[in-house]
């Protein structure tokens, strides 16, 4: 009972701090919600559509024009420029006007009919990978259509049925089943990793910040006094408020994703709840741990921010971990966002059983318990250190 009243007392004190220093409200609620808004509206399209593409048509035949029309009609591409030469088209890419262009050589249609294998070329820039690969996908389809056009005409003249034509042109076909996120929606694939990453960043930074501010304004002693010198009670009281606010924000975010935007998932709601709890407790604890290691506001915050920012690359949501060198693969184990992403990906997105993701589950629990190792150092810091600006 005594502990509970102490925890409540400290929690109320913390609530006062959160209300007084505006930066807490901004970083706990406003910035995270803004980030949610940013990513969900930015990637609302899902897959980039109508990318500007150019055409260099030296042939000017009905076949070439129909190829260009087909290209324009494709979902991801829009033909915005016709150039007289490849140099002009290349300049347009360098001027950022287009992402790709199709080059149709002179005499393509007649050579195609005469069986002299003309060459169609397309160029796309890979300096923006999303645009480049989307445009190249459409251009590839157009080239295949052009190739098939001749065979189709010959076969139908010989009296083949559409099914026969189809199997003659493409004896082996691929039937793709991209599970859960069938249209390869970028919103689903980026927002679910980057926004939690930013929330983890704020959670770790603010937990180090709030301990550091106690040092900076020399209120640490008073804080410990309220807990009767019991650091565990002091920490629990302090961070229970942080955890509640963050949990609210995180649940709101997940509700917005799955309840309002209807992001695909195969895992149950309970998996999401479990993931959120681990995310909030793991991150806050990691911040406390870093502060315990380096009991200085400036150093602990620097480390927290550098570590969390590194997480965006090391979580393996954009560039897969299996593509990195072995030491980096090992380093990724020390990144909270990596385990969050793996748990999300396995248990929420794909709906696989928790037992298959046990390693990441245990890792996040371990992050939650990490402050235990440094808790005495935190207490020592509060009692003895002096803030040096």
């Amino acid at each position: 009972m005594k502990y509970i009243s102490q925890i409540l007392d400290i929690a109320l004190r913390e609530l006062g701090i959160l209300c007084k220093n505006r930066i807490y409200g901004i970083c706990m609620v406003i910035f995270p919600l803004l980030t949610v808004l940013f990513f969900t509206t930015m990637l609302d399209e899902g897959v980039p559509q109508d990318l500007p593409i150019g055409v260099v048509d030296m042939d000017n035949s009905t076949t070439s024009r129909s190829l260009v029309r087909n290209l324009d009609a494709m979902q991801n591409s829009r033909v915005v420029y016709h150039f007289a030469s490849v140099t002009e088209a290349r300049n347009a890419i360098q001027e950022n006007k287009i992402y790709a262009f199709l080059y149709i050589p002179e005499g393509m249609a007649s050579k195609l009919l005469a069986g002299r294998q003309p060459k169609l070329s397309y160029y796309y820039t890979m300096t923006c990978m999303t645009a480049g690969s989307m445009a190249s996908k459409d251009l590839k389809t157009i080239a295949a259509l052009g190739s098939a056009a001749v065979g189709q005409a010959v076969l139908s003249a010989k009296g083949a049925t559409p099914r026969q034509i189809k199997s003659a042109l493409q004896p082996v076909s691929i039937d793709a089943h991209p599970t859960v996120n069938p249209e390869a929606n970028y919103n689903v694939y980026l927002t679910t990793a980057l926004v939690p990453g930013i929330m983890i960043l704020f959670m770790t930074l603010l937990s180090a910040y709030s301990l550091g501010m106690e040092l900076k304004f020399d209120t640490g002693k008073e804080w410990l006094q309220r807990a009767n010198g019991n650091i565990v009670v002091a920490i629990l009281g302090k961070y229970i408020v942080h955890a509640l606010v963050f949990l609210l924000v995180v649940f709101l975010f997940q509700y917005y994703l799955y309840g309002v935007l209807h992001f695909p998932r195969l895992g149950s709601v309970w998996n999401i709840v479990c993931l959120c709890l681990l995310q909030v407790f793991g991150s806050i604890s990691f911040g406390i741990f870093v502060f315990g290691l380096m009991p200085s506001l400036r150093m602990s915050m620097s480390v927290c921010s550098l570590w969390s920012v590194l997480g965006f690359s090391m979580c393996g949501s954009t560039f897969p971990i299996i593509g990195m060198d072995a030491p980096l693969q090992a380093l990724s184990w020390l990144i909270p966002l990596r385990h969050y992403f793996m748990l999300y990906q396995m248990t929420v997105f794909n709906g696989f059983p928790f037992i298959d993701a046990w390693f990441h589950l245990v890792a996040l629990i371990a992050f939650t318990l990490m402050p235990w190792f440094v808790i005495s150092k935190v207490k020592n810091a509060m009692l003895n250190y002096v803030y040096i600006p």
């Binding site: 980039p48 690969s133 001749v150 004896p171 691929i174 089943h177 603010l206 910040y209 690359s313 696989f352």
Partner: protein, 398 residues
């Protein structure tokens, strides 16, 4: 007082402030970290992370229910490709799924039992590809390998059926229309070569803003009235002196780190480097100036020195998106395009990628350069205004 005397005096003050700021960078751990150590160390780590550029040998599992020469050939071809590795064979789809669930493979190739029969009968045979969609790059590797190998297998079958006499005829049967697929500027489609140039330029802006913000926060904390001008220091007596003294200091630091970021790092990790030295210089000067004055303007918002970290660190990820390096610039919604105009990084990154990765000439990036100069001028004016306001406040409180 003669005009020369006045000029000399303001120059001395400027240089004094410059020296003080330089000293502070070395003495203050936090500033040293963000202005020197991070710009030197972080790019190396990032380059290492993305150094392999593409994913190779993505593990897949095969469910071969056809057990035919044709199906085995397809599996061999896929395994021989650079992107996919056939790591397991499973009896059925459920077993294969459990391998995905345990993260041992990233996709399934299912070859149905009637595959060879159908193909040899002249019907269309189908290979089903199941992909874990949580990673875009592995999905692309698995799917595209299957498509390429399927069309190769099909072309081989068509050649056999055609009964041609010459190799040339075979080639035309396989591909009546030849196609050249040319990826420009980043021919291997490497992730690092695409993202890293943007990250390098962004690091410069972010670290400058962090460093400058910390310095301003420290000054504010030491001031009795929480103002941005140190009290009782005769050298800090004019807004322009402070702004130019600070700009001199941070501009010098940024010149060194900027040269390192744009020339040394890409060279060390063999990222694309097509920029003409002169064009690069003409691009970096307005960018660094814009970043320095942007940093000064942001620093005025900082109450405690640590708050700048809370402001600037998280914004890095959205800023990277606003540059158009991962989500195409043409598809960024108008409102966010407007927001992106506030940050030098947007145009700095765009100009740098075009000049450095795409070999654009200076006149091709002129629109970006113009905006960078406008930003530099605007943020300079804002920084001066804020410091003049601070002087007015200081006069009032005295």
């Amino acid at each position: 007082m003669s005009i020369f005397h006045k000029l000399k005096e303001s120059l001395t003050d400027t240089l004094y402030i410059w020296r003080e700021e330089m000293r502070q960078i070395i003495r203050d751990e936090g500033m040293l970290i963000f202005l020197v150590i991070v710009p030197l160390g972080y790019p190396l780590l990032y380059s290492w992370i993305y150094n392999n550029e593409t994913v190779h040998e993505v593990p897949v599992v095969v469910v071969d229910q056809s057990h035919s020469a044709l199906s085995r050939q397809f599996i061999h071809d896929c395994d021989a490709s650079s992107d996919v590795q056939v790591k397991y064979y499973a009896e059925d789809l459920d077993e294969a799924r459990s391998l995905i669930s345990r993260q041992l493979v990233r996709g399934i190739y299912l070859i149905p039992s009637d595959f060879a029969t159908r193909v040899l009968r002249g019907e269309q045979g189908t290979v089903s590809v199941y992909c874990d969609m949580s990673l875009m790059l592995t999905y692309k590797a698995i799917y595209q390998t299957a498509v390429v190998e399927a069309s190769r297998l099909g072309a081989g079958l068509n050649i056999k059926k055609a009964g041609n006499f010459t190799k040339r005829e075979d080639a035309i049967t396989a591909q009546p229309l030849a196609v050249a697929d040319v990826a420009l500027f980043n021919p291997s489609g490497g992730y690092g070569s695409c993202v890293l140039p943007a990250v390098l330029i962004l690091i410069l802006q972010q670290t400058l803003a962090l460093g400058i913000g910390m310095a301003a926060g420290t000054t504010r904390e030491r001031n009795r009235n929480s103002q941005l001008i140190p009290d009782d220091n005769p050298h800090y007596r004019g807004a322009y002196r402070i702004v130019s003294g600070k700009a001199l200091c941070y501009g010098m630091v940024a010149a060194v780190t900027g040269a390192y970021l744009t020339m040394a790092v890409p060279h060390m990790f063999s990222f694309p480097q097509l920029a003409n030295a002169w064009d690069l210089l003409l691009m970096m000067i307005p960018y660094i100036l814009a970043c320095v004055f942007f940093g000064m303007t942001v620093s005025c918002l900082v109450r405690y020195r640590e708050n700048v970290m809370l402001l600037m660190v998280f914004i890095s990820v959205p800023l990277l998106f606003l540059t158009g390096v991962s989500w195409p610039e043409s598809n960024i919604p108008g409102a966010w395009q407007g927001v992106s105009w506030l940050f030098p990084s947007t145009f700095g990154v765009r100009a740098f990628i075009r000049v450095n990765s795409m070999g654009a000439t200076f006149d091709q990036i002129l629109p970006e350069i113009r905006i960078l100069w406008i930003q530099a001028a605007a943020y300079l004016a804002m920084a001066c205004l804020v410091y003049r306001h601070q002087f007015r406040l200081a006069a009032k409180t005295k």
